[in-house]
Structure formats: structure tokens, C-alpha cells
């Protein structure tokens, strides 16, 4: 059962009709609906192309949050072998909103870390909808330090609405944990590559994405605050999220123009959720390319390049 987004309603109708026709034909051997169904399929495909070719920033936010979009776990399962989760911050707890551990990517041992949102009600609650608490960042810090000591590249997969606005998270030093995680990203002498696969929400995203190379899926978003949050602050009305999404320049296309990200990974027709396998493969190709790009760089060079990249960031702005 496909989950349709509000702007996909016309598509739902066409695909629904095609489905009905086929169901009807299954019950009636004499009926030949193949031409009619194929025509509807073609119409649906054309509409899908049309819709996704020029998604507004707000629609991209909706696609990035699509419940059927592949999540961190799907990427790890498909792209890595021997994934060995490593748990805990050695201080308070293990944060299930953050997955991480040792794994092999193209046979090469790496450390992989990412936010996991969950895929059904139970796992979403267990994963806290991908909103890490301080323990999540502290686990990531520990894993990045492990990678650093054993010279393993780090791959991070970013997909979070943001840090968890909870009482305990604040009491246990959420700010400090995020700051230290970003600091660790900037300190480690191993290749660090990051892919924003869904939502790159604020400090929770930066804490993992302060990388040598950052790629973004075509319809992913990356922003300082959610459009709803921005709208409620600047427009005093959370319903103005469309306007806010527009103003914030949170799409991969605009972030590439600003040099905040290095590459855009194309998504299959109709978004990653329509063909998760294709999206995952494209992300795999991008990770391989980014790692290859960093091959042969010394530890000092990796740190120096990463710092220089962020120091330079924003120096030109969007072209007038």
C-alpha cells in the first residue's frame, strides 16, 4: 500500500484506477484491460515525472519525511557487510535513535554511524523518530574516536528531524554532546564522508555531517530549523511553512550552489520511496566515489582540508 503525499493525490487517482481495472480483469477472463491499464500507467509515470521534476521546497520536505523512504538501517543492510553494531556511550545509555558500528564497505573496514527513524509504530517509538539524545552523540563520538585510532574511514548517514527536545536530554547536556560531536568530526585524522539521506535537521545533523565530503539525495533537505519552526518564529504562524521552506534554501540544489554540500545523488522517478533499491545503490556509488576521492591523503591533510572547507563556507553566498 503506497502512502501518498497530499500533492500526489491526482497520482493516487490514476494509479488507483489502473489497479481497479486490473483487479476487475483478474475476476473476468474475457475482459482485456491491458491497453487501458497500460495507458493509465503511462499517464501516471508522466505525472510522476512532472511532479518530481520541480518539487517545491516544502514538497521536498514532505518527500524527505516520507514514511516509506529508505532509512539508515536499509542502507546499512544493503551497502555494508559484516555490520557489527557497537552500542552505548559508556556513561548513561545506548541511544537507539543512532545506529553505529563496524562494517565493511567494498570489503574495506569502516565505521558507519547514522540516525534511524524506524519503519513502523513500534520501531519509530523505539528509535525516538530519529531524534537523538545526548547519548546518541556521545556514542558517535566514541565510535569516531575508535575509527581514528584504528585508521578506519567513517561514513555517516544523516536523517533526523533534529535533536530531541526533552527534559532529560537537556539535563544530560545535549548542547555539550552536539558541540563535542562536531568537534570530534573536525579532529579525526581519517576520511569522514556523509550522506544526508532524508532530513538534515539542525544541530543533530551537523554533529554527524561535519565531514570531508557531504552528499545529499536529490529530494533530501538540510536546514537550521524545520520550516514549521522557522514559520512560527518569523511569520508567527507555523502554517506558513511553505513560505519558510522557500526562504530557507534547504534543498540539495540550493545547498550545492552555496557549496554547503559537494554532490547531489539522483533519486529514482517519484522519489527514493518508489524504488528504494535504486536509491540505495545510488547512495552506495556516491559513498564509494567520496571515499576514493580521499584516498592517499595523510591524516594531517584530512584534518586540514576539513577545517579549511568549513572555514571557507558561506564566503560567497548565492549568486545575485
Amino acid at each position: 500500500m503506497t502512502h501518498y503525499l497530499d500533492f500526489e493525490k491526482p497520482l493516487a487517482e490514476i494509479e488507483g484506477k489502473a489497479e481497479e481495472l486490473r483487479a476487475l480483469a483478474r475476476g473476468n477472463a474475457e475482459m482485456d484491460v491491458s491497453d487501458a491499464a497500460r495507458a493509465l500507467d503511462a499517464k501516471a509515470a508522466a505525472l510522476l515525472d512532472d511532479l518530481y521534476k520541480s518539487l517545491t521546497p516544502w514538497r521536498k520536505c514532505q518527500v524527505a519525511r516520507h514514511p516509506e523512504r529508505p532509512h539508515c538501517r536499509d542502507y546499512i543492510e544493503a551497502l555494508f557487510t559484516e555490520f557489527t553494531p557497537l552500542a552505548g556511550d559508556r556513561n548513561f545509555a545506548d541511544d537507539h535513535a543512532v545506529m553505529g558500528g563496524l562494517a565493511r564497505f567494498d570489503d574495506r573496514p569502516v565505521v558507519v554511524i547514522g540516525h534511524e527513524k524506524g519503519s513502523d509504530t513500534k520501531s519509530r517509538i523505539e528509535r525516538n523518530f530519529g531524534m537523538a539524545r545526548p547519548e546518541g552523540y556521545r556514542k558517535a563520538i566514541r565510535l569516531m574516536q575508535l575509527a581514528d585510532r584504528f585508521n578506519l574511514p567513517v561514513v555517516t548517514l544523516v536523517d533526523t528531524p533534529g535533536a530531541y527536545p526533552g527534559k532529560g536530554a537537556e539535563e544530560r547536556g545535549q548542547s555539550e554532546a552536539i558541540a563535542r560531536s562536531t568537534e570530534t568530526c573536525l579532529r579525526i585524522g581519517v576520511p569522514l564522508v556523509s550522506v544526508i539521506v532524508g532530513e538534515g535537521g539542525s544541530g543533530g545533523a551537523v554533529a554527524f555531517a561535519t565531514a570531508n565530503r557531504v552528499a545529499m539525495l536529490e529530494h533530501a533537505v538540510y536546514s537550521v530549523i524545520t520550516p514549521e519552526g522557522c514559520a512560527s518564529i518569523l511569520w508567527k504562524d507555523a502554517e506558513k511553512m511553505r513560505e519558510a521552506a522557500e526562504a530557507m534554501r534547504l534543498t540539495a540544489q540550493e545547498l550545492k550552489k552555496l557549496d554547503v554540500i559537494d554532490a547531489i545523488i539522483p533519486e529514482p522517478r517519484g522519489g527514493a520511496h518508489r524504488d528504494p533499491g535504486a536509491a540505495i545503490a545510488a547512495v552506495g556509488k556516491s559513498i564509494a566515489a567520496m571515499l576514493k576521492d580521499l584516498d592517499g591523503k595523510s591524516r594531517a591533510q584530512l584534518v586540514k582540508d576539513r577545517r579549511a572547507k568549513f572555514l571557507d563556507m558561506g564566503s560567497k553566498g548565492l549568486a545575485a
Binding site: E170, S175, T210, Y222, G314
Partner: protein, 323 residues
């Protein structure tokens, strides 16, 4: 009784004409409601003389109180691209900037300066909450980087006073990128072996807290300051329960291990002098207010501009030294 307000603020002849604060005779404390004589309040560094409530203080007034003789030299901050995203909400970003500049007489939300504090050469940076909520955009990032570079160049500690509602929304993702950018600045200081002391003032929230404000060698907060990543209203909406009294206030963070100290503003200078001098392995400080150095920073930096007067009466800051 304090000397600072009696003296000329150095470098007031900036490109913006600074509007003099109207000398209201009285000001009301927003905490206890006491009517306070304006002069008495500024002598007490904007701390209520009745209830001890810490009100906002401008970076210039703070530096006036911090540096010997109130003399400091501003560090130039590289100018970022204006309105990098062409951001429009209900107002245009450049119009909001102009309004903030007019209201504060400042160019942006952070002031960086060099000078001496108890004869200890330092670099200081202070965030200005009155300028668009002190929000962190490219300029604030550039200011912190400039402050760190200056500190490394001069081999001096950096003392940073944070105050911000968070990110500069109108700079979108670029405001978020100030988290890693300012973190690089902190790393420069640490690698040069220089002390980095953060004074968290009311309020320090959002991305500011989750980057340079939480990476100090020593964290000192002013009493009652709100310090958090997610604000109390957002949390209450999320968890649907009322938060305990004093939640996310300086004293609460001290209890939860996030701060080294909570120090009243009137004692801050002496404490900063003591800490930096110990970290730098220098001799114990001379107590009390000190006159401006003979060869002032301001004069050295820009001979065309007159520094503040070097003479001053014996102050009372020494009386606030904890014994």
C-alpha cells in the same frame, strides 16, 4: 560608585553614529519591579541593586568594565556577504539589519577587542543580545574566528561572553554552518595552548550553546541565565508536562555538571583575572581597578582615535572579591 560609566567609551566614532541612551532617571527592574536610579544601575553593571537580577549589558559597556581603564582596541571582523540567501520573510533581511543597526548603534551582534584585564593581555569577544537576539550568522562566525586568530597571533587567552537566542534564521543553512566554523576557531586556540574561557550570559540558547559556548576550558555563567539547546516552551510542548522551577537556568546547569561556576557580574572581572593568570602561570593579580596601560591598545591599534582617559578614581570592584 563604579568608575566605568564616568568614562568615555573608546572608539565610539565608528561608521554608525551611536545614539546616546536617553538618561532616564529611573529604570524598572524586570524581575522585582523596583524603580532603580539609572546611574546607580549602570554603576552596578545593570545588576538590580535590590534583588540582584542581572539585566542585559551591551558589549561595549561590558568591555568598558572588563578592560583596565575601560580601554580596548576593536579587532576588525571580515565582512561577510550581505543577505547571502536573499531572505524574505514578512520583512526583508537587509531591512531588519538596518533596523537593528539603528537601534543598537552597532554593526552586528558581536564585538571583538584586545586589551588588558588586570594587566593581563587578553582578547575578548562579546555577543550582543540586543542586536537581532544576538543571533549567530556569518558575521558572528567571522568574529569568533577573527578573535581566535588574533588570540593565537598575540598568544593571548580568549574570553568570550555568549548571549544569543540561537541561529540567525535569515541566513538559513549558513547560520547552521557557524557551528563547525566556530568549532574550528576553538580548536585553533586549544592547539596553540591558549585558555578559552566562556562566560555564558542570559540567554545562551540553540546552536550557540551547541558549539563554541560549550567548548570552553572553563565555563562560567551569570546568575539566572537561561542556557539550553531546546527552549523550555518547545520542551513543554513536546513532553506535555510543566518543567521544574529554575530548569535550564545557570544554577540548574551547575548542579547538572555543565558549568564550572556561576558568578555574579560584579565579581566576574576579578575571577576572570585570577583564572587566566593561573592558567597562564603568571604571578597573582594586583587587586582592584587598574588604570589603562600607558601605551594603550587603542592608541597602538589606531593612533588617529583617542583612547579613553587613563586616570580614574579608586573603584570598588575590589570589595567584591570573594574572601
Amino acid at each position: 560608585m563604579n568608575w566605568i560609566t564616568n568614562y568615555v567609551r573608546p572608539r565610539i566614532n565608528s561608521i554608525f553614529s551611536r545614539r546616546e541612551t536617553p538618561e532616564n532617571l529611573w529604570q524598572k527592574c524586570d524581575e522585582c519591579g523596583s524603580m532603580l536610579f539609572h546611574r546607580e544601575l549602570s554603576d552596578n553593571l545593570n545588576v538590580c541593586t535590590n534583588c540582584g537580577h542581572h539585566m542585559a549589558i551591551s558589549p561595549r559597556a561590558r568591555f568598558g568594565a572588563l578592560f583596565d581603564g575601560g580601554v580596548f582596541a576593536e579587532v576588525a571582523v571580515p565582512e561577510p556577504v550581505a543577505d547571502p540567501l536573499h531572505f524574505r520573510d514578512q520583512k526583508k533581511y537587509p531591512d531588519r539589519m538596518k533596523a537593528a543597526q539603528k537601534a543598537t548603534g552597532e554593526k552586528e551582534a558581536m564585538l571583538v577587542a584586545t586589551g588588558e584585564m588586570g594587566r593581563t593581555p587578553i582578547v575578548a569577544a562579546a555577543q550582543d543580545f540586543s542586536f537581532m537576539g544576538g543571533s549567530m550568522g556569518m558575521y558572528v562566525g567571522n568574529a569568533i574566528i577573527a578573535a581566535a586568530q588574533q588570540a593565537v597571533k598575540l598568544k593571548r587567552p580568549l574570553i568570550l561572553f555568549s548571549a544569543a537566542g540561537g541561529a540567525r534564521m535569515q541566513e538559513g543553512i549558513l547560520s547552521l554552518m557557524q557551528m563547525p566554523r566556530t568549532t574550528v576557531a576553538v580548536q585553533m586556540l586549544k592547539e596553540a595552548g591558549l585558555p578559552y574561557i566562556v562566560v555564558l550570559t542570559h540567554p545562551t540558547t540553540g546552536g550557540v550553546t551547541a558549539s563554541y559556548a560549550m567548548l570552553g576550558d572553563v565555563h562560567i555563567a551569570e546568575p539566572g541565565a537561561l542556557i539550553c539547546f531546546a527552549g523550555p516552551r518547545v520542551i513543554e510542548q513536546t513532553i506535555r508536562e510543566t518543567l521544574p522551577d529554575g530548569f535550564q537556568r545557570a544554577e540548574y546547569l551547575l548542579d547538572h555538571g555543565m558549568l564550572d561556576r556561576v558568578t555574579p557580574r560584579m565579581q566576574l572581572r576579578d575571577e576572570l583575572i585570577a583564572i587566566t593568570r593561573m592558567l597562564l602561570g603568571l604571578a597573582p593579580p594586583v587587586k582592584g581597578d587598574l588604570p589603562a596601560p600607558d601605551k594603550t591598545e587603542a592608541a597602538a591599534a589606531d593612533p588617529g582615535k583617542a583612547p579613553g582617559p587613563a586616570d580614574k578614581p579608586a573603584g570598588d570592584a575590589g570589595e567584591n572579591t570573594p574572601k
